[in-house]
């Protein structure tokens, strides 16, 4: 039962990611999100290689583990690229904020990397073996940074009332959900070690599956229908403005 579920959750999200790639190509979203397309393509191809290595008897566990580490490193780098792309896309249409958005990303990244390093160091349990420590603690630090960046972006855009296109929101939302669950699991693994690894692995893989389905759903969802709207009466706004002007020019 565990094996069947494990293999399903390993294979299915990557099959659905192939759908994401096709959707992006067909709807030409790759022009706005080339990094996300790279990430999706890489995930599909990387899965193919890992699947062959993982199921081949000729490949030693050590070699497979090295391949998993390499794959994780590349995926993490690409996910950072996608988050940066989301930042750029959200701020692109707001001239007043575009420079601020770039600064926000840069400084938040620096602060979060420091926080992530300290947080992962503090959450790390002494009882872990070396391999577990390398993978999980690194993953924990990365999850803190990615989760923090996405949270910051959501909070910032909510504060300023910025609008997001459906698929942009979908990409960020899916990535955010994955980062949050990954952060929880990495924390538990870093602290409690192998005792909970099987169930948490399934949880992470299941979340990734959900995340890919979220991307598909948002890529397929059309933008809100055009509706006839009336602009609000400007009288009150003009009154405020007039009043402010009168008072402040005293």
């Amino acid at each position: 039962m565990y094996n069947a579920l494990y293999y399903y959750l390993w294979v299915a999200p990557h099959a659905f990611l192939a759908v994401v790639v096709i959707l992006m190509l067909r709807r030409r979203f790759y022009k706005e999100f080339p990094m996300f397309l790279c990430y999706a393509v890489y995930q599909v191809l990387g899965f193919g290689v890992l699947f062959v290595l993982g199921t081949s008897k000729a490949v030693s566990p050590g070699t497979f583990y090295d391949a998993v580490l390499l794959d994780s490193g590349i995926s993490i780098a690409l996910r950072f690229g996608v988050i940066h792309e989301i930042f750029e896309n959200v701020f692109r249409n707001y001239a007043a904020l575009s420079r601020l958005g770039e600064l926000l990303f840069r400084w938040a990244s620096i602060v979060l990397v420091l926080t992530g390093t300290v947080g992962a160091g503090l959450a790390y349990s002494e009882g872990l073996n070396h391999l577990g420590a390398t993978l999980w603690v690194t993953n924990l630090a990365v999850s803190i940074v990615q989760c923090g960046l996405l949270l910051l972006l959501f909070l910032f855009s909510r504060y300023f009332g910025l609008s997001w296109r459906n698929y942009v929101f979908g990409i960020a939302f899916g990535l955010g959900v994955y980062a949050c669950v990954d952060l929880t699991n990495s924390t538990i693994l870093s602290h409690f070690g192998l005792a909970s690894v099987r169930i948490l692995n399934l949880l992470t893989m299941g979340t990734y599956h959900c995340c890919v389905l979220i991307w598909i759903a948002y890529l397929l969802t059309p933008e809100p229908a055009m509706r006839s709207l009336q602009a609000p009466a400007a009288t009150e706004l003009h009154n405020w403005n007039h009043e402010l002007e009168r008072l402040l020019q005293q």
Binding site: N93, Y94, A95, A96, L97, L100, G119, L122, A123, L140, C147, L150, L151, F154, L155, R158, Y159, F160, G161, L162, S163, W164, R165, N166, F169, F173, G176, V177, C180, V181, L183, T184, T187, I188, H191, E223, P224, A225, M226, R227, S228, L229, Q230, A231, P232, A233, A234, E236, L237, H238, N239, W240, N241, E243, L244, E245, L247, L248, Q249, Q250
Partner: protein
């Protein structure tokens, strides 16, 4: 252990916020009439009294320094409330501008873009002004004049009028999304 629990709590909280944001996004596919109802009312008479330079000078002269500082703090708290309302309304204007920006009418779309820029700048400026007011609450003696908020407000609201005129001349559908 405490760090681990804190990280798990933070992750769950963030996840909850994301889910809430997604639900809110669905709920906020609404028209501008609803947006305009969201605009917070401002008591202009009260604000007029609050920002009166004459009143401030009078109070400074008539009241003992300690009492003046207390009164000035209360005035600044009230001013913070006003700027908060302006900031909130600026985000409503941003949404309205976004709606116009996606209009098929190029002129309306351009006006929408200008409104978005002006409203976002106003929102930014409100952040700075609020910080200045808070500083003024701590040190009531320093100058915290928010003069250029009025200009930005005028610019933003003037663009609303422009959009309204354009819609009146060439009624075009607008789309509002969060």
């Amino acid at each position: 252990m405490i760090t681990a629990l804190f990280l798990i709590f933070a992750a769950v909280l963030t996840l909850g916020f994301l889910a809430w944001g997604a639900l809110q996004r669905r709920a906020s596919q609404r028209d501008v009439q609803e947006l305009s109802r969201a605009i917070r009312p401002v008591d202009l008479e009260a604000f007029r009294n609050l920002m009166s330079a004459d009143d401030e000078g009078y109070l400074r002269q008539q009241l003992p320094a300690r009492v003046y500082r207390a009164v000035q703090r209360r005035r600044l708290w009230a001013a913070v409330e006003y700027v908060s309302c302006a900031a909130f309304n600026a985000s409503v204007l941003t949404k309205l501008g976004d709606a116009a920006r996606h209009s098929p009418d190029p002129e309306l779309a351009r006006a929408g873009q200008e409104l978005v820029d002006a409203a976002v700048r106003l929102r930014l400026y409100c952040v700075v002004t609020r910080m200045r007011f808070y500083t003024g609450v701590v040190w009531p003696g320093i100058s915290v004049s928010p003069a250029s908020i009025a200009d930005r407000y005028q610019r933003a609201t003037g663009l609303v009028g422009q959009i309204r005129r354009l819609q009146h001349v060439r009624p075009a559908p607008l789309r509002v999304a969060s």
